[in-house]
């Protein structure tokens, strides 16, 4: 079967985010960018399916600026077979992303789409669910474990109270949580090999999707800061302070 994995280029998770002084967004100039960590987990899961002989081909898609090509190369170096870059310099909302992905799914006909549960920039946690709904497919979100059996995917999900298992008919969408797997580092030979793997270039218009934002961002501000308090010298003093504060 074919597996489709969308990947997003985001600010590296180790970078300390700074809000721009004009409140239009966060400062992305000269900041290290990487693949969204949840998407790395999605690529890893697809590569493992291929290594187990369960997946025949892995197609990775990135929707974003020209530099998102590097993000696709990373996925190809991890073991994906080919890439599709849907080039756009605009910020594209999750619903429009889902519509573009739907058009790609209809062309490519994968049996499984694996997305990260959320991107660590806008923290929306929407795209996978929206794609599943637009396609009329089932979904296994926040996946902790995947088992493919016949025409079904058994997906163990991380939910608030613990773990939940759902059985979803294929084709389906799965979104990854942190503990699904630990993504590999691409080896140097694989990085070299990835340079030869094909990346097709498209635009949102090729898929007939209007990407005009529907939400208007009025401003982006710093969160309220907490002041550092005091250091206490002993456990007894800590308990005194907590009693005085009325919290124990």
């Amino acid at each position: 079967m074919k597996v489709l994995v969308p990947v997003k280029r985001v600010i590296d998770f180790n970078v300390k985010v700074r809000v721009k002084s004009d409140q239009t967004g966060v400062d992305l100039a000269n900041v290290k960018m990487s693949m969204n960590p949840f998407d790395e987990i999605a690529v890893e899961e697809a590569v493992r399916l291929k290594e187990q002989g369960k997946a025949a081909e892995i197609v990775v898609v990135s929707i974003g600026p020209g530099q998102a090509r590097e993000t696709l190369r990373t996925a190809l170096a991890m073991g994906a077979d080919r890439g599709i870059l849907v080039k756009s310099d605009a910020d594209i909302e999750p619903l429009a992303v889902a519509k573009i992905l739907k058009a790609i799914v209809e062309e490519e006909k994968p049996e499984l789409v694996i997305t990260g549960k959320q991107a660590i920039d806008d923290d929306s946690n929407q795209t996978g669910q929206m794609l599943a709904a637009l396609l009329g497919w089932g979904q296994g979100t926040f996946a902790h474990k995947l088992e493919l059996e016949g025409g079904e995917a058994k997906i163990e999900r991380e939910v608030d109270g613990g773990l939940q298992t759902v059985e979803v008919k294929l084709p389906a969408v799965m979104t990854t949580d942190l503990r699904l797997n630990e993504p590999r580092y691409a080896s140097l030979p694989n990085i070299m090999k990835a340079k030869k793997k094909p990346i097709a270039e498209k635009t949102p218009a090729d898929y007939g999707v209007d990407v005009t934002p529907r939400l208007k961002v009025l401003k982006v501000t710093e969160p309220a800061k907490r002041q550092a308090g005091i250091k206490v010298k002993s456990v007894a003093e800590l308990v005194d302070k907590l009693s005085e504060a009325g919290v124990i």
Partner: protein, 313 residues
């Protein structure tokens, strides 16, 4: 028009997250109705009817909704959508699983995890793991919203809403619930507890978490953990506090052996009082802690337990 809140429950008890979501809904569009979808969930519908500000409870009691599977919840919400200009759910794993499907089918964006209603069309939400706050304007025919409930106050109970039974919609048959392994605990639920005692990698093992549990039990507190402690396998994943785990805002958050990575801080920085015990005095947790104790936790925790016992806790 009106707004509809999707109730969070386990068929027996209504989660407090529902009432907090009602608070957000009231500020967007009144009257507020609550949808209780479940199986044998009459007690939940009764509880929802008591929330202040709720005009009507819609009860969809059917085996199909026993576990609120997203694929079955979507058509139910779509049949109701025309009567509401806003549909809200708490940003629990359940709400996050269901609502984007409804938004996509209605062809509107979802506004995720709002922390403030600035006006009926304007909302604040955290982005970049809470390191920035985005104010968005949503002039949309329908507003589909998930709510970070720690940011809203429960409106209390003086309501006597009518309960209307509604019919189930067809099962699309694309997904089914197979089972669950929920953590059983006598302790209060992490997101609802007044006191949370959390442990990090500093604990060194799952066995050592007993030190945390002992203090937590003395304080009738919930037990939390940092991602590092969960990844190391000391405790189950549902203990995790942080951007990718649970967001909590108790009266007291006691962080033990937690260095305070930004991803962890994003999950607890709205707590009323933060106390931290860590042997590294440079640990970033001390920059947000109201009371910090630089100490070896293996000495401090038993001492804390004794000190609390001495004072009758």
């Amino acid at each position: 028009m009106a707004s509809l809140v999707v109730a969070e429950h386990d068929n027996k008890n209504l989660s407090d997250a529902t009432a907090k979501t009602v608070a957000a809904a009231s500020a967007i569009s009144s009257p507020v109705h609550v949808l209780v979808a479940g199986q044998n969930c009459g007690a939940v519908a009764d509880a929802a009817a008591k929330i202040k500000g709720v005009e009507k409870v819609l009860a969809a009691d059917d085996a199909l909704y026993a576990h609120m599977v997203a694929e079955t919840m979507e058509p139910l919400l779509l049949t109701l959508a025309s009567q509401y200009d806003a549909i809200l759910a708490p940003a629990t794993t359940n709400g996050k699983n269901i609502l984007p499907r409804v938004a996509a089918k209605l062809d509107v964006p979802q506004i995720s995890e709002i922390i403030k209603v600035v006006g009926p069309d304007t909302f604040e939400r955290p982005i970049y793991a809470g390191n920035a706050i985005q104010t968005v304007e949503a002039k949309l025919p329908k507003k589909i919203i998930t709510v970070r409930t720690t940011a809203f106050k429960s409106p209390g109970e003086d309501g006597r809403a009518e309960i209307e039974k509604i019919a189930a919609t067809a099962d699309p048959g694309t997904a089914k619930f197979m089972g669950e392994a929920l953590s059983k605990s006598e302790r209060p639920e992490l997101t609802a507890a007044k006191i949370v005692v959390s442990g990090g990698r500093g604990l060194g093992s799952g066995e050592n978490f007993k030190l945390i549990e002992k203090v937590a039990d003395r304080l009738h507190a919930a037990v939390g953990a940092s991602r590092a402690a969960v990844d190391a396998g000391y405790v189950p994943n549902d203990y995790q506090v942080g951007q990718t785990g649970k967001v909590v805002a108790p009266d007291l958050y006691l962080a033990v052996g937690i260095s305070g990575a930004i991803q962890h801080l994003a999950g607890m920085k709205d707590s009323k009082v933060i106390a931290a015990i860590n042997k590294d005095e440079e640990a970033p947790i001390f920059q947000v802690a109201d009371f910090g104790l630089v100490a070896d936790l293996f000495q401090a925790l038993p001492e804390l337990d004794q000190e609390l016992a001495k004072r009758g806790r």
